[in-house]
Symmetry: C2
Subunit: 706 residues, 2 copies
């Protein structure tokens, strides 16, 4: 046994297939190598750029999630949580489809999601030269960033003149190249099947990031065009044979954001400052909010969203730091960087990489000089209309009111997007909504923590407005005064403020609004510096990445940027620690074993009954002796891959990706083959439920299974 495991571990290293490959890159990969890894198709069957077709064309973007077509009549599969919005829209107390699940009895009973839409990939055009040509000579870095943004927008606007087309100019590795992506926009999406919530979310937060896993995180929708089922160019046939350990699989989808192209100096900033400070500050803030609301249910509800987001980021920061350590991620990046630098020094063609690397290091050094100032300040304003900063509401409301007054002075077209006329209604709604998240005792406690941190900043990083209002250690008392004096927490007064000019606002002599003015100048300065750094990256990263690829002598997959990618992988378990082996597959028996009769482990009676009666139908895996539920593979995934179709060597659907394991959370920075595992639901679990529990015979027929 031990020997078998060891061989497998060795194999695991041999199998390590780092990379989220773009459709264009797939065609450049060594076909013989892919065949050796297990692919039984020609790479051109994955993507045919001439026709805009192939397996990748069946991989859709559902808006934050991925999905895949699975029938000629536009059926697609994705995660349960990716179509959850449609369930929410149609659930009623009389027909609680969230709890009970949903299966459309016929096509006319399918449930339309009013805001759901999908995009089907169609065409990828390299527009790097066009974008770069738009940068004026001698542009500063900030001007450069703005020029690139403008050109990207222009290309999209021109492209979207085509009917039913959604376009995007995507930057790869911070500007190493730009691609104009054209997709077919399908705004009519309907829910066909969703399991009961207790299946789709089995294990809930407790099992999130964990293995072994027993979640049936799947749902099926259908795309419609002009009221008729959409006929995709390609769809994935369902494999009824499923997977077994060591099987070759591919995960297709739209991974969100990764950071592997960062230099070691940039990664060090993430590890030593970004995640470390998040862990420290958010840990404190969670504590502050919980203590300030303990035993007061109105208070607990008011801060619940903020505590949840803080907790998620806190846990993520912990995981990232542990992953950095476990995978020696920074040390390895350092070593790789050194190797590339040494190589580039001998290659005149790549001489600019040396300057680029130095320039990025200088940028990081500059960021570090004001790092803690900028980090604190970034918690006083929202980066989008929808989001709220995690800091005190007092500062958020004040900076928003002031910024709005300032922006309203400008012609509409010159304003920051959030403050344009078309967004004013959303902004006002948001400013009203914040009232229900405001609980004075909690906000005061959070502000006190914020002020005390601001007072500890080194002299050259002090926030002047804060220092003025809080000149001494007497913070709590001054906060009480401030909250007593300001009118900004009065919803009607706040709405009035949103219509006032800067002079009118100043004439109020409201101390919190005055602080808003002081902070606004700092914020604008920070935003300018950020824009400048974006420009710096777009100027320097390309040369550096060219050298990295040059030294490697083979294609390197760019960082994830929510564009279509494919990852090649194998079904396999892993050793989370000495003495323990996580098997790559779980079974129905495990669902029963975990069941406690209470959330989040409260499986529907119908499932437990069928399991108890061993009513497996044809879905019993011969090796497992049971219905398979979830499986692990070493696919290179990240957030955004939720709902990704998982297909076998012949292009048949064998599963749906829905998570990564905890030990793998730092794979956004570096690929650690010993723990890089993604979590997938086995398609046979869905088929078993449809067949033996939900009795979805019509659906099974359409899937070609009956």
């Amino acid at each position: 046994m031990k020997r078998a495991l060891l061989l497998l571990l060795l194999a695991a290293n041999a199998f390590a297939l780092e990379g989220k490959w773009t459709p264009q890159q797939v065609l450049k990969l060594d076909a013989a190598w892919l065949k050796k890894e297990g692919l039984q198709l020609a790479p051109s069957q994955l993507w045919d750029p001439a026709r805009g077709s192939g397996l990748l064309a069946a991989t859709i973007d559902t808006g934050g999630c991925s999905g895949g077509f699975i029938s000629a009549d536009g059926l697609f599969i994705t995660n349960h949580h990716c179509l959850f919005g449609i369930l929410q829209e149609h659930a009623t107390p009389q027909d609680d489809i969230i709890t009970n699940g949903f299966l459309a009895a016929s096509r006319d009973k399918e449930l339309k999601g009013s805001t759901s839409r999908i995009a089907v990939p169609h065409k990828f055009t390299d527009v790097t030269a066009l974008v770069l040509a738009a940068i004026p000579p001698n542009a500063t870095d900030a001007e450069r960033a703005r020029a690139i943004d403008r050109k990207a927008s222009d290309l999209v606007a021109e492209c979207e003149k085509q009917p039913r087309t959604r376009c995007r100019t995507a930057a790869f590795d911070g500007g190493a190249w730009y691609t104009l992506i054209e997709s077919i926009d399908i705004p009519d999406v309907r829910l066909v099947y969703a399991p009961p919530r207790a299946i789709g979310e089995y294990g809930g937060e407790t099992d999130n990031w964990m293995w072994p896993r027993h979640t049936g995180d799947f749902a099926i929708g259908r795309a419609y065009v002009d009221g008729k089922p959409y006929k995709p160019q390609f769809f994935f046939p369902i494999s009824t044979k499923g997977v077994k350990p060591d099987d070759f699989v591919m995960v297709l989808g739209y991974p969100g954001t990764t950071y592997r192209a960062l230099t070691a100096a940039e990664m060090a900033e993430r590890r030593d400052l970004f995640f470390t400070r998040r862990q420290e500050v958010y840990g404190e803030w969670i504590d502050v909010l919980q203590k300030a609301t303990a035993g007061n249910s109105a208070g607990e509800i008011a801060v619940a969203d903020n505590v949840k987001t803080l907790s998620n980021r806190f846990k993520n920061a912990e995981g990232q730091l542990a992953g950095f350590k476990r995978g020696s991620i920074l040390e390895k990046q350092q070593a790789r960087n050194e190797k590339v630098l040494a190589w580039a020094r001998t290659q005149p063609k790549y001489a600019d990489a040396l300057a680029a690397h130095e320039g990025l290091a200088k940028m990081i050094a500059e960021q570090r000089r004001t790092w803690d100032h900028d980090f604190l300040l970034s918690h006083t304003y929202a980066s989008t209309v929808a989001a709220s900063p995690l800091g005190p509401k007092a500062l958020y409301l004040a900076t928003t009111v002031v910024r709005n007054a300032n922006e309203l002075q400008k012609p509409d077209a010159q304003r920051d997007t959030f403050y344009m006329q078309r967004n004013q209604a959303s902004l006002q709604a948001k400013m009203r909504r914040e009232q229900k998240n405001f609980f004075p005792a909690a906000d005061k406690a959070l502000l006190e923590s914020f002020i005390r941190r601001a007072q500890k900043l080194p002299a050259e990083q002090r926030i002047a407005g804060i220092d003025r209002l809080f000149p001494d250690a007497n913070v709590a008392a001054r906060i009480d005064e401030l909250y007593a004096q300001t009118k900004i927490f009065d919803e009607n007064e706040r709405m009035k403020m949103l219509a006032e000019t800067p002079d009118q606002l100043k004439a109020r002599h409201d101390p919190l609004v005055d602080l808003g003015f002081a902070l606004d100048a700092d914020i604008r300065d920070l935003l300018t510096r950020k824009e400048n750094w974006d420009g710096t990256v777009s100027r320097l990263r390309p040369a550096w990445r060219r050298a990295v690829e040059g030294e490697a002598g083979k294609p390197i997959a760019p960082d994830a940027n929510s564009t279509l990618r494919v990852s090649f992988a194998h079904v396999q378990g892993y050793a989370p620690r000495d003495g323990v082996w996580y098997r790559p597959q779980t079974t129905l028996a495990g669902v029963v074993e975990k069941d406690t009769g209470a959330e989040p482990f409260h499986a529907p009676e119908s499932i437990l009954e069928a399991a108890k009666a061993k009513r497996y139908g044809q879905w019993k895996d011969p090796q497992l002796g049971d219905v398979p539920v979830d499986f692990l593979a070493d696919a290179d995934t990240t957030g955004g891959n939720s709902g990704s179709p998982v297909i076998n060597a012949r292009g048949e659907l064998v599963g749906v990706n829905f998570d990564r394991v905890w030990e793998n959370v730092a794979n956004d920075f570096g690929y650690n083959p010993t723990v890089n595992r993604n979590v997938n639901v086995d398609i046979r679990y869905l088929l078993w439920i449809l067949d033996q529990v939900a009795h979805g015979d019509g659906l099974l027929r359409e899937l070609g299974v009956r």
Copy 2:
């Protein structure tokens, strides 16, 4: 891989070797079967009754633990915690051998344990006929129990007239047979080697019962006779090759107590009442004591022992109940019982088994009638002088003072042992010592919980003395009065009470002492009933067990009773739950991985350094690529097996047993082959430390390793 695991799981079932066999039984087992399982010795090499020798003769009783001779000059190995007393005896602030460990530089530097002694097995004689002949005709069950006890004591007294001989009359399966066991008594035991505590207890309470495990729970002593190293008849040569998965091993030792011979009705009482009530009551008492002492360090210290014992029993009860469920232990016993009953009905020779089974059921039914009364009452008095009951000190002190006064009225020989003249000093010391465990607020809270439970007993189970003193719901106030009025918490007054006659005690009109008198009558009644039940069991169990063995048609190992046993096993991992496989071996890398720099995971720097430098010497396992630390086997063990030598198919020492896994805690009631695993330290971990870290060259030479 999966296939390999499945094959292994199937194999695991085939390997399931239930049974803690007695030396005599080993000779009756099928030699061909043992050979097939892996034994490479003749069974007679395990035990030669004529010479009182063989491998089993090298297996010693260290008093609560097991051990094994490992050199011709009396070296023996056992667990670290089994020789911990000697470390405590000799440790000083200047020479902290507990923390640093100890290695005798030469024989004259070995450390004698003033209370340590060992017993070497020598002779086993069946005395069943002698014991049974001592029972008077028409004896009641209580008289029967007393007659058996007396005869057993007489046999021991006669036997111990031999020099240097320790004897015991052991009852097997409640009296199915009796064996007189003669051992060589060696009272001169010296410590030769103990690792640092951070090795010997690595993982502490956190890892207790857990796998994966990384504890170096071993120590080496030497037996001396007349000041010279003892020359054992047999010793285990050390295997330097160690073990690998699937290897055949044997675990030899003195397992304490198991309950597999109970009928299903008796097991139901354990599951549904005994463990269930312990979980419920002890859970509440832990809570009560913790709340009553929270924030008061004197209080916390006073109740620490009680809380620890309650917590251990609470956790154990939880594990037993979970194990009963996991292994369907009661249901399987029920099915086996039915089978035996059906068979016995067709066998005139076993007709008495039917009546015996019914008699045992009647006894249980009788116990159930007063079960909750008896359970509560049993927490008011001590079952030995050393132990304290887990209930309130108030009741314990009161019942002890009263019982002592009553017993002192009798001639010394007729008293209960605890109150005989020779034990009066210990009793008084104990009654003094209890002062430091007394914290009024905690004891009042515990008494209140006790009283409230007593008040909820059904009418026919009420405790009269309690009802009299606590007639209504006004419990807390009455307790305050009681504690204010009684003198029993005054140490000097209590010592005076221990010298008084019952009349003198009564004349005090101390309300708590008066309650003691009322409870004493109940307690004596309970003790008589218990004695009666012991007699019932000794009368009925033998017939029932004969039928069980008759139906099986092969030897059945009797329940553990602290006598010498051997278990046949294989090295193998297990699946604690769906999707997880516990590998059967851990490594040095795992010690480093767990190290946090703080207790209980604070490995000595010397170990971490040697691991980091990969200074493995010859001790690297070729398959593991590292020094092995602990391993699992499916040996049938229980408490008392601590320190048991683990030997390979050729009789060489490969490890030392020190624990079971959590999923296996209910194996005292039934053997569940899928999770029955014991935890052993790999002898190569000891050898590696002696070789590469402690530089114990002389010791290694004596072990034949150099």
